[in-house]
C-alpha cells in the first residue's frame, strides 16, 4: 500500500541549534504514530514542519491527495495548501485557545470549516455541529456557549469536533491531553481512540506521556535532541527498548 504521508530528511535549525535533524518516516492511512521524547527534543517543531507552519531548512513532506496523486507539499500553491489544511487535515493544539475561536460559540467553531468550504445552509451547518458535539460528548444545550465558558477537557473535545467535521484523513495532535487531570485525560483518550478507529484516521500524536502512546498508537518514534533514536511498533519499543535513552525514558515512568 502506498503511504499517506512520507517525510524525508526534515531538518530545521534555530540559529546554530538543531531542532530537527534529518527526520524521515512514512505513515499509512489509518495509522497512528506517536512521537515521544522529553521537552525540547524537537517533537513540536516536527509537527509544525509537517503542517507547513514553519519552513524547513531541508527535507520534504509528500502527501497522497484524495485524487490518489502524491504531491510534495512544497509544490502546492498557498491556496491548495490552505484548502488541504482545512479539509483533509486537522491540527489539535496543546493550548485550546490557539485552536479555537474563543469569542465564537461552540456551534460556530464547529461550523467554521463547513462555511470555509462553501456550505451556506444554516440549518444544515447547525445540524452537523449538533451531531459532532454529541460525538465528542458535549451537551446540545451548550451549542451557543463560547468556549471561554468551557472546562479544559471540553475545550479539547470541542477542538477535536471542529477539526473532524470535514472528515479529514490526517490529524496532527500536539499534546492534546496535557494539562488535564487524570480522569479527564482518560475519557478524552478513550474518545480519541474510538473516533480514530471509527473514522479510520491517520494520526501523528506528539506526547511526552508514554501511557498516551501505549494507549493510542500503533507505532512510536522516539526523539532526542532533534534526532530519531528509535522507532518501531509501540509494544515492541515500550516493552523492549533498545536505545539507552529509550530505556531511561521507559524506566522513568512512575507506576501508580
Amino acid at each position: 500500500m502506498e503511504p499517506l504521508l512520507s517525510v524525508a530528511g526534515l531538518t530545521k535549525r534555530y540559529g546554530g541549534r538543531l531542532a530537527c535533524d534529518g527526520i524521515g518516516f512514512t505513515l499509512d492511512p489509518g495509522e497512528v504514530l506517536a512521537v515521544v521524547g522529553e521537552s525540547g527534543s524537537g517533537k513540536s517543531t516536527l509537527l509544525s514542519l509537517i503542517a507547513g507552519e514553519v519552513a524547513a531548512d531541508a527535507g520534504s513532506v509528500a502527501y497522497r491527495m484524495r485524487d490518489g496523486a502524491t504531491r510534495d507539499l512544497d509544490t502546492l500553491s498557498l491556496v491548495e495548501r490552505r484548502a488541504l489544511m482545512r479539509t483533509d487535515w486537522g491540527f489539535v493544539r496543546q493550548d485550546a485557545t490557539q485552536g479555537l475561536r474563543m469569542a465564537v460559540s461552540a456551534g460556530g467553531n464547529v461550523g467554521e470549516r463547513l462555511m470555509g468550504v462553501g456550505d451556506r445552509h444554516y440549518g444544515r451547518i447547525r445540524a452537523t455541529a449538533l451531531d459532532w458535539l454529541a460525538r465528542v460528548e458535549i451537551a446540545a444545550d451548550r451549542i451557543d456557549d463560547p468556549p471561554t465558558r468551557f472546562s479544559g477537557g471540553m475545550r479539547q473535545r470541542l477542538q477535536i469536533a471542529r477539526n473532524l467535521v470535514t472528515a479529514p484523513r490526517l490529524v496532527l495532535m500536539d499534546e492534546p491531553t496535557s494539562g488535564l487531570d487524570v480522569s479527564v485525560q482518560a475519557r478524552l483518550l478513550d474518545m480519541i481512540r474510538g473516533l480514530v478507529a471509527e473514522l479510520g484516521l491517520a494520526v501523528i500524536i506528539v506526547t511526552h506521556d508514554l501511557a498516551v502512546a501505549r494507549l493510542l498508537s500503533h507505532r512510536v518514534l522516539v526523539m532526542r535532541a532533534g534526532r530519531v533514536i528509535e522507532t518501531g511498533l509501540t509494544d515492541q519499543v515500550l516493552d523492549d527498548p533498545q536505545a539507552a535513552y529509550t530505556q531511561l525514558l521507559v524506566s522513568s515512568v512512575l507506576a501508580a
Binding site: 498557498l78 491556496v79 490552505r82 475561536r101 465564537v104 460559540s105 456551534g107 460556530g108 461550523g111 467554521e112 470549516r113 462555511m115 470555509g116 468550504v117 462553501g118 451556506r120 445552509h121 444554516y122 440549518g123 451547518i125 447547525r126 451549542i143 451557543d144
Partner: protein, 314 residues
C-alpha cells in the same frame, strides 16, 4: 509668500477660491496620489487600496476619508451635496459643505438629482442615482473581518485568497443568538463576485441600492488610510444563508410628513410624554415629495374622498 513650486503650479487648477487655499484644500501632489489610489480601487472593485491619508482640519470620525476623496475628484464645475444620516442640515453635512465652498468655491445643493458629487455618511439617497454622479462614503472601519480576525496580515491573506468562511461565522453567530441575521448596518457585501467589502455603517436597507448602480461609488477611510470603490453597474450581493436569505428592514407605517412608503424612516421624539413620529431619514427626498404638485393633488384627492365617506369612516 514663497513662489509656488513650478511642478505643482503646472498642475494647479486655475480656479482657486479665496483665503489662500489651493483648490479644494489639498495640494495637487496629494490629490494626484489620491486619484491614483481611486483609479486602482475602481480597477479592482471592493479591494482596499492603501493611501497616504493626510491630516485634515477636522477630527477623525468626522469624515476625513470622504473629504479627501471628494477633494481629489472635485472640479470647478461640480455641484456638491453632503448628507449626514440622510439629512442635509446636520452639523457634519453643513460644515463639510461650507469647507468646500470656502476652499473650492464650488456650487452646493441639497437636491440629489442636481448634485454631481454626493458625500455621504450612513445613508444612500432614496432618489435613484444617475450615470455621471459620484457617491463618496465616509468609512470608519474599512475591514469587514476586523472584529473576527484581529491580525491585519491574516485578514489581507483571507482577502487575497477569497477565504470568506469567517464572514459567515459572524452571520451564523447572529442567527444562533437572535434567530435571524441581526446585523442591521455595515452589512457585508460581495462585490463583483470577488471581494467582500464593508459598505460603511449604512443601514442594510440601503444595500440593494448599491447593486448595479449607475453612479460611481467611492469609499474613503481617513484614519485607516484605505480607499475602495464600486464602479458603475457592478454586481453587489449581500451575504446570507440559503435558509436565512438577506432581507431589508420594513417599516409598518409611511413617512408622517410626505407619506412615502418603502423608505428608511427616522424616529423623532416630539415631547417627554412618549410622543414620536417617523419621518423620512432622507430630508431631500421628503421635501421634494412635499413640493411635488402631483403628490399635493393626490393628497387633496384622498382628503376629498375621505370627506365624502365621513360617515362610514367615523
Amino acid at each position: 509668500m514663497n513662489p509656488p513650486n513650478p511642478a505643482v503650479a503646472r498642475a494647479t487648477v486655475t480656479v482657486s477660491a479665496g483665503a489662500g487655499y489651493n483648490f479644494a484644500y489639498l495640494d495637487e501632489g496629494t490629490k494626484r496620489m489620491i486619484r491614483r489610489a481611486i483609479l486602482k480601487a475602481i480597477a479592482i472593485p471592493g479591494y482596499q487600496v492603501p493611501f497616504a491619508a493626510r491630516e485634515m482640519p477636522m477630527p477623525y470620525g468626522w469624515g476625513t476619508g470622504g473629504v479627501q476623496v471628494t477633494a481629489a475628484i472635485l472640479g470647478a464645475a461640480d455641484v456638491l451635496k453632503v448628507i449626514d444620516q440622510g439629512a442635509d442640515d446636520t452639523t457634519n453635512a453643513v460644515s463639510i459643505r461650507r469647507f468646500f465652498t470656502a476652499t473650492a468655491g464650488i456650487a452646493t445643493t441639497t437636491r440629489t438629482a442636481e448634485a454631481t458629487v454626493i458625500q455621504t455618511r450612513h445613508r444612500i439617497p432614496e432618489a435613484p442615482l444617475a450615470e455621471g454622479q459620484v457617491l463618496v462614503y465616509q468609512v470608519p472601519i474599512p475591514e469587514p473581518l476586523r472584529f473576527l480576525e484581529p491580525r491585519e496580515t491574516e485578514t489581507r491573506q483571507l482577502h487575497a485568497l477569497a477565504e470568506y468562511g469567517l464572514m459567515h461565522v459572524k452571520l451564523y453567530e447572529d442567527i444562533a443568538r437572535h434567530g435571524h441575521i441581526a446585523t442591521t448596518y455595515a452589512y457585508p457585501v460581495e462585490v463583483a463576485g470577488r471581494y467582500v467589502m464593508d459598505p460603511s455603517p449604512t443601514p442594510k436597507f440601503d444595500n440593494p441600492k448599491m447593486d448595479d448602480c449607475p453612479a460611481l461609488q467611492l469609499f474613503g477611510a481617513g484614519r485607516e488610510k484605505r480607499i475602495y470603490a464600486i464602479p458603475p453597474y457592478t454586481r453587489v450581493r449581500s451575504l446570507d444563508f440559503e435558509d436565512h436569505p438577506f432581507r431589508v428592514q420594513r417599516f409598518d407605517r409611511p413617512c408622517a410628513l410626505c407619506g412615502a412608503e418603502d423608505v428608511y424612516l427616522d424616529e423623532v421624539v416630539l415631547d417627554d410624554a412618549g410622543g414620536r413620529m417617523f419621518v423620512c431619514s432622507d430630508t431631500d427626498h421628503c421635501e421634494t415629495r412635499l413640493a411635488e404638485p402631483r403628490l399635493a393633488e393626490t393628497r387633496l384627492g384622498e382628503t376629498r374622498l375621505a370627506d365624502g365617506h365621513t360617515g362610514e369612516a367615523a
